[in-house]
Symmetry: C3
Subunit: 126 residues, 3 copies
């Protein structure tokens, strides 16, 4: 079986949870070795990538974000790729080097999404 | 003319109405014989598939759901396919055998969506 | 480099702003000569196309709409195409001839989206 290639597009922060759940269920269904998955975040959704930093300084904040990042981190270790749009990072005043190492910054999220679809990836907007 | 193949993805219950309207307008435009349509519901959107059952027990509930189901049922008779994600059904405690006969349960909604796109279906998120 | 072909689908009026921002960033990234862009509006999103008319009659209304239309107009001059679904226009009682000249009316927005994807356009729902 060829690998099933999927691009998930997230632009609302509140859609991260269902996106990660979608990915988990997909991988459980087809098997990790048959899935090629990339997640591209733009818009306000990139803010969740930056929740780590703010949560190291206080205990009350970003629990949801921290938990999401932890899930993403584990997924990244299995080969799932996470990208962030540089324009969105700038709009939300997020410094690139504060992002977790598994996040790849792309010049423009839309370009990444378009190129991946041209490369045979299915598009899903959770 | 080749058939125009389309996959509609619904994950919010409140998007069902516009999804069905989109389908109606599309079929009116291209003709039923030129359209190959599948709707895949995951997330909370699967709850609408189950509105029949709850409404047989009371009179005050699920009117909207019942009306949507009726529309779906008529569409299904013309060859439009409706699928439900099994993971989503479980999360919403919906028993599969209570679903209307026209609903096909798939192991994972995302897998179905990815495969259909690989098979040439356009993707639309209403 | 082949042109990167993209279809943006807008059905909620409040998503226009981010759609236009996505387009700007995309064009800045890949260069206008490498981008082939079409925007298809259906549902309530078509109302923004009609904000001009109402704003010519009063000063207090449609500022956001007017500003969006101005941005669209400039984009249209660079070759970006804007389409409106005729069914949606009717539902929102918008008279076609009141639309700005750069808006092309299509019989059904969904058909346009499906055909563009069949023609190799990536699909993006901002």
């Amino acid at each position: 079986m060829d690998k099933l290639k999927v691009l998930f597009h997230v632009n609302d922060p509140e859609r991260w949870q269902r996106t990660l759940l979608n990915i988990k269920n997909f991988v459980l269904d087809v098997g990790q070795e048959h899935a090629e998955i990339e997640v591209v975040a733009n818009g306000a959704a990139v803010s969740v990538y930056a929740d780590t930093g703010s949560c190291e300084k206080s205990t009350g904040c970003g629990k949801a974000g921290g938990d999401l990042l932890e899930q993403m981190n584990k997924m990244a270790e299995t080969g799932i790729r996470f990208a962030a749009c540089r324009n969105a990072l700038r709009m939300h005043s997020i410094v690139e080097k504060t992002l977790p190492p598994f996040v790849r910054v792309v010049p423009a999220g839309i370009t990444e999404i378009v190129k991946k679809q041209a490369d045979g990836y299915a598009y899903i907007k959770p």
